[in-house]
């Protein structure tokens, strides 16, 4: 796979991954902005409104028809955060020319449609179509409200909000219901124009076309994009290495299973983060099926169906999530913390350590087989201005020593514990 990066317009960078192994191509166009409560809801709503209609395809049916005609191309709004950088845009996924009847060149047509959706929205009196804004606003608010349906996700969201209160990271990438409901066609149109004029744009392509062809198609489709002279304030993440006394939060809902979520700060190692060592430590502790959490909290003590840890590399956090019997709160919490203590003491077997490294290496190399994961990985790299590939990170991970992983474990500190319990019971 040939991977190249190039700034094709001011603050518009194309990462192009050329390969013929997939039968589809993908194109991600992402606006990267500072995550901020004031704008998050507007940013998240915007791509959904844009998807409702553009000048050439002014309503949902004609928009769907256009995608059907492109042999079932899928163009979807996509909203994420990378640390405290909110990333909003469109993700297109479409058949590669080689598999289209007559090898018709559809890449240019898809890129042109994506450009039209982003730059020529359906308008009414110079504003984004008010019917679309209002309809999507209500649906967006419902989407945020519905996070509660997934209790595991909800518990992690609440933990993040409570633990990082006062930090931008507490703001969810979807925004919040209250701010969403205040959005009007005027406020969203203004915000949309500002975004086009100022935001850094990351474009990712993966497919059989060479980067020159992709660039030419993009320059054509985005020729009307207004661009700043230079970036005023590049988005970034405020990493806090210190945590105070541990905070405990308990909330209740009508559920049968409790959700225990722990938030940690990675600490001083974030001053000069060694990502490979962080990933390997995570695999030892709770990020793999050979990890201490999986083998002890689940398998040995059968305290839960799942218990795992994951890293937020940009903000320097680690989250542990687990679904437990409500009565077993104390026991599960103690065991989760005891396993971390064992990591800190260097109580890691040779086999255990090599298993953890293998799982990290396998996961990183597997990423090269998924367009979606590649797009997400390179977006994360772009946000941090990092260049290395998943393969290079895999190679570094296989070199990590026990001492390096233990150093990560020692730097990690518990910040907050969140427990979602059943009604009428307490922890």
């Amino acid at each position: 796979m040939d991977i190249s990066r190039k700034e094709i317009m001011p603050l518009v960078t194309l990462t192009s991954a050329r390969t013929e192994k997939f039968k589809t191509s993908c194109l991600g166009v992402t606006f990267c902005v500072q995550l901020d409560k004031k704008d998050a809801s507007k940013n998240a709503l915007l791509p959904k409104v844009l998807m409702r209609g553009c000048a050439g395809h002014p309503d949902m049916e004609s928009m769907s028809a256009a995608m059907d005609e492109l042999y079932g191309a899928k163009i979807l709004p996509l909203v994420r955060s990378k640390g405290e950088v909110q990333c909003v845009g469109l993700f297109a996924d479409f058949a590669d020319d080689a598999y289209v009847p007559g090898n018709e060149r559809i890449l240019e047509r898809v890129i042109s449609l994506v450009g039209e959706i982003l730059l020529c929205p359906a308008t009414k009196a110079g504003l984004l179509n008010s019917d679309y804004v209002e309809s999507e606003r209500e649906k967006h608010a419902d989407q945020i409200r519905s996070i509660i349906s997934d209790k595991q996700k909800y518990a992690l969201l609440r933990l993040k909000e409570l633990m990082c209160a006062g930090e931008a990271f507490a703001v969810d990438s979807l925004g919040n219901v209250e701010d969403t409901l205040k959005i009007t066609p005027i406020s969203l149109t203004k915000h949309y124009r500002k975004l086009l004029e100022t935001a850094r744009i990351e474009i990712f392509y993966c497919g059989s076309a060479d980067s020159g062809r992709v660039e030419a198609a993009l320059l054509d489709a985005f020729s009307a994009l207004p661009r700043p002279e230079k970036e005023v304030c590049p988005p970034g993440t405020d990493v806090r290495t210190e945590s105070g006394p541990v905070r405990y939060f308990t909330e209740s809902l009508d559920v049968g299973q409790g959700k225990l979520a722990l938030g940690f700060r990675l600490g001083k190692i974030m001053l000069e983060p060694d990502l490979a060592a962080i990933l390997v430590f995570n695999a030892v502790y709770g990020g793999s099926v050979t990890s201490k959490l999986f083998l002890n909290v689940r398998e040995k003590l059968s305290l839960c169906y799942y218990a795992g840890s994951r890293i937020e590399r940009h903000k320097g956090l680690m989250f542990v999530a687990s679904g437990i019997d409500i009565e077993k709160y104390d026991e599960a919490l103690a065991e989760i913390l005891r396993q971390l203590e064992l990591c800190r003491q260097g109580d890691i077997g040779e086999k255990e350590f090599s298993n953890a490294k293998k799982s990290v290496v396998n996961e990183l190399r597997s990423m090269m087989d998924s367009q979606r994961q590649l797009e997400d990985f390179y977006l994360g790299q772009a946000v941090e201005s990092l260049e290395f590939s998943p393969e290079m990170l895999a190679a570094l991970s296989s070199e990590v020593t026990v001492e390096q992983a233990v150093a990560v474990a020692k730097s990690v500190s518990l910040d907050s514990v969140y427990f979602l319990t059943g009604k009428g019971r307490s922890a």
Binding site: S135, S146, G256, T290, S359, V361, N362, E363, Q371
Partner: protein
């Protein structure tokens, strides 16, 4: 060994059947870092009542899934999850109503991983102690799914539709039903269903088909054994057992799923055609680019969670639609009314033509994932069909086929509806 080539898709498959009855499919894929293997038994949650050596057996709900968990324990105290992971693979397993599949993807040591997979699935090792411990873990898994509204809305629909078919009962069983499972139950069911003639092995990646065959011959038992005969209850009438089920859960927006039973052939190309035709017809009726979808979406009756499709399981099949809605009854009425309008043919030719075009992209997409291809091939093997010829079936559909499929199934008297309402607020 037989070779099948699919020119348009640029795919090929090597197929063979061993003397012990095991079917092996090898799909060569170049350029991928990973290889994938799925080893599956034609045995799932629905296979509770069966006859072996002339004798009928009634087993508790949840045995197939319980067995899936316990198969990873190997004699001598080793665990296959750990072994595979330590060897650079990502292993996992799933149980559906009709199939239990064990699988891994790995970026190195493929042959050794394949050996481990075949060994642990074919050599059961259970103790009363390990079974008791698993009751704790699976008990938590069941609690977790019981709190999941999407699971509830589906399971309640199946309960409403069917009076007898075991699809009424959750694949994992209940905390009470799994308490009845002993090591003896597990050994017996393994004996009844995990014989090679009732199993399939599918591999995709840069692998040698002859090596895969040789390894399977070496590790698996060589004799062919009797496979149990199953009973899924009487063939049921089209009318549902009950027409409406409503429960309250912790959700923000009501969730519904509605459906009708389909008269499905047991196995073979006719079943495949029906599945593809029904999916296609439902897309014409209420898919994302249908006029009905656009209208319901604009009226705020549905949001982007709305979808329609089919579900096929042992002894039956259903056409279903659903999502979040504040007025499920209005959505159901609109769908039924739209279905009735297919009697007049209607101006849907344009939509029909472009959906055929769009189905190309959807089909092609499914050939990007090695694991996904193996799962489709496994399911296809058990259902007696070839997943690589879906496009040929779709190409042959006419608007008349679509109209007949809709009119023949979506009748108001046959519709069952399942709703999950919020605990608080709206009623």
């Amino acid at each position: 060994m037989e070779f099948r080539k699919y020119e348009k898709l640029n795919e090929q498959v090597s197929i063979c059947t061993l003397p012990n009855g095991l079917a092996i499919y090898v799909i060569p894929k170049r350029g991928y870092y990973k290889s994938a293997a799925v080893f599956a038994a034609n045995y799932g949650g629905s296979d509770m009542k069966f006859r072996l050596s002339g004798e009928w057996h009634d087993t508790p709900a949840g045995v197939a899934h319980f067995l899936e968990h316990k198969m990873f324990d190997m004699e001598g105290g080793e665990n296959a999850l750990t072994l595979l992971s330590a060897n650079g693979a990502s292993p996992n397993a799933f149980t559906s109503s009709g199939m239990t599949a064990y699988h891994f993807e790995s970026t190195e040591n493929f042959e050794e991983n394949l050996r481990i997979l075949l060994q642990f699935v074919s050599r059961p090792y259970f103790t009363e102690e390990s079974v008791a411990k698993e009751q704790g873990i699976i008990g938590q898994e069941i609690r977790m799914t019981e709190d999941d509204p999407e699971f509830a809305v589906y399971q309640n629909l199946m309960k409403s539709l069917y009076a007898e078919n075991p699809i009424r009962i959750s694949v994992a069983g209940t905390v009470d039903s799994i308490a009845k499972i002993t090591a003896q139950t597990l050994y017996y069911c393994h004996e009844a269903f995990y014989n090679p003639s009732n199993m399939v092995l599918c591999v995709a990646g840069d692998v040698d088909a002859l090596r895969v065959e040789a390894i399977a011959r070496e590790i698996l038992p060589s004799e062919k054994k009797e496979t149990a005969e199953r009973d899924y209850g009487q063939k049921e009438k089209p009318v549902p057992a009950s027409s409406l089920t409503v429960v309250k859960m912790e959700v923000a927006v009501p969730l519904f799923m509605a459906g009708v039973k389909l008269d499905a052939p047991a196995a073979g190309p006719e079943r495949q055609r029906l599945e593809l035709l029904m999916d296609f017809a439902l897309n014409v009726l209420a898919g994302k680019s249908s006029p009905l979808y656009a209208r319901l979406y604009a009226e705020g009756l549905i949001n982007s969670t709305f979808s329609c499709g089919t579900t096929f399981f042992p002894g039956g099949a259903a056409a279903v639609f659903g999502g979040e809605s504040r007025d499920p009854a209005a959505v159901c009425a609109a769908v039924i009314e739209e279905a009735a309008s297919f009697a007049n043919g209607g101006p849907r030719t344009e939509l029909f033509d472009r959906l055929k075009k769009a189905s190309l992209g959807d089909e092609i997409r499914s050939f990007n994932s090695l694991y996904g291809m193996c799962v489709r091939q496994s399911a296809g093997h058990f259902a007696g069909f070839d997943p690589f010829v879906s496009m040929d079936h779709i190409a042959g559909f006419t608007m008349k086929d679509v109209s007949e499929a809709i009119l023949g199934s979506l009748r108001p008297e046959n519709l069952a509806v399942s709703v999950v309402r919020p605990v608080k607020g709206e009623s």
